[in-house]
Symmetry: C2
Subunit: 400 residues, 2 copies
Amino acid sequence: MSNPPSSKRLVAIPASPIRKLVPYAVAAKQEGIKVYHLNIGDPDIETPQVMLDALKNWSKNPIGYSQSKGEPIFIDALKTYYHRLGYQFIGGDDIQVTSGGSEAISMAFFATCEGGDEVLVFEPLYTLYNSFAAINNVKLVPVRTSADAGFHLPPRIEIEKKITKKTKAILICNPSNPTGTVYTQQEMDTLFEIAKNHNLFLLSDEVYREFVYDDRRHISVLDYMKKLPEKIILLDSLSKRFSICGARIGTFISKNKAIMDGVLRIAQSRLSVGLIDQTIAARLTSVPRSYFKKVHREYQKRRDVLYEELKKIPGVSLKKPEGAFYAVVTLPIRDSEHFSKWLLTDFRFKNQTVMVAPAPGFYVTKGLGKQEVRMAYVINISELKKAIEILRRALIEYKD
Amino acid sequence: MSNPPSSKRLVAIPASPIRKLVPYAVAAKQEGIKVYHLNIGDPDIETPQVMLDALKNWSKNPIGYSQSKGEPIFIDALKTYYHRLGYQFIGGDDIQVTSGGSEAISMAFFATCEGGDEVLVFEPLYTLYNSFAAINNVKLVPVRTSADAGFHLPPRIEIEKKITKKTKAILICNPSNPTGTVYTQQEMDTLFEIAKNHNLFLLSDEVYREFVYDDRRHISVLDYMKKLPEKIILLDSLSKRFSICGARIGTFISKNKAIMDGVLRIAQSRLSVGLIDQTIAARLTSVPRSYFKKVHREYQKRRDVLYEELKKIPGVSLKKPEGAFYAVVTLPIRDSEHFSKWLLTDFRFKNQTVMVAPAPGFYVTKGLGKQEVRMAYVINISELKKAIEILRRALIEYKD
């Protein structure tokens, strides 16, 4: 008997395009090469001191389970956070604490779709949606957006024509990872109407909510929740907002009682989210306003530097990102996967190189994104300038 | 259009039988009733000081992502732990850090089975295996064990006759939650041979490894791993061993490379396990031997008290538990779900009552376990005696 060594569904889970180049980066570093990381959204910004203080003053012993729904003080803090944003209708019952935004996304697919059902997404998309779709046996149906249009939505008809009998939900990321696009009021109205008219769930991943630049206003799916309480789900996380990616804390928010009861049963199966992470995160309402203002100013400056410096390089094109801390950039190359690997294995400038994420992994459709890479502007301005200068030199040296 | 409010597969996830009585316990407490918790394995034992010290001395800022495979210092500590147990063949590549033992179980189902495949389990079983089976679209096929036999395995033929073309794995919990049974060398040999002869995976949940009493020896699946490297998976967790249930830390261990590569891709999708929890847990090799000796002695004493006191109650029967910190106890009642609820809603002795977990939720087969409850001896001896005295009085007062 020779069964395969694992299930076929395990084989079908895609490797993370963000992380799969890591071994080459490790090898470069072992050679003594400095690698500028523009490949992953792991910010260098400090975690708020008031959160770290919760560790120094830790007194609970033993470190026992938290509640499956979430630690009560953290749920209270989340309620206060959403109320301050103007969404007073969010109650404790509408909140499920999750292990990162990741678990919230996975729960959303499981809760809204049977195996084999379809979810509309806009590509390029957050690459891990592909993984969670595979894990939950959901088919992502991509609606294409283009670099020329700043990755904004295509006309409504282009979206609606992808809807089939199996379509159960539309999933957006707003502000968008990987494109930095922030959807306008009109775009959000359109998505709401499509969801309403076709009886679809509208799932909105808003982990970059506050990262919106040039006085743009972020339009949350929460603005529509009261009008379509059964069909709207907010997927959220504190990771980026408070620079605590390593504290696995997210939220799944909905007014749909059947869904909230069901995700609580999923939550009970994994017992609880980390007690310490939630205790730190519960301090979110004590983080001074000045913290986020400073963070916001810093990212907007980095965005400006990234944009201005990249625009100077012949053959490189991008629209100015509107939010988050990513940009999908078109380069004068034919194969961004080859180029990204080459940067790590072959190219060096004064013992330095740069790491970027090739864009094909951010598409569902095979063959797209071959001239594009995603860059995360999560390093300080002086390093960012150096990284882009290195990229400029690399593009001169690189032969397709 | 009136679609159902959620997916059918969400509806199919069972509620936790351990947690579903919680609202009644909360209501009793609000009335001023003291509730002795024998219902859940959340120990009162202190977390080792050396782990808590890692919080006081926290210096990393920001709290960034850990690696998807696990934080290197934690993987190193785990290697040392398994090497000290005598399993020198465990390398870093064989270890995937998981978010609690829970994630390891879920990964094991996904990695070894296609949707619709079957896994043999021994009932009564850890109730959450039912949830993870539902989440991963796996069918649990129960092999019954009996209270009279101390929940040890039935003859080999009884196990083998449950194997079908769809059977992909055997899952055991050893020492067992909920029964406290510790499998003998002979039983483990039998399971290994069945797995080998029928080309099945052998999945072993050993989170209670060290909780083995009366000088019994725990036989780990690791003892067989070199003989069947492609088919053996260890599911483990530090939660109980170091009384850190609220730090979500587990491990998935195998020599099957396709499986390890695949679970790493699942792990990449949820980015990382908590950095702080792993940093604390990495100190496991510095926990003095005296810590666990004391813990072990305490649990063995509690086990003795539980057994001796329960044996005195007319109509109550149990075999002396061999490991873990649970017992499945037969009571002179007809419906343990009704009785368990009644304890919380109706029965009081001097403003006190006791909470137990009705056993039907620990069976796959409907209708079994109606005279049984699971008790966790996770409270101190003085409280445990009081709790059993309350149970004795309740059984006198209770009318079926």
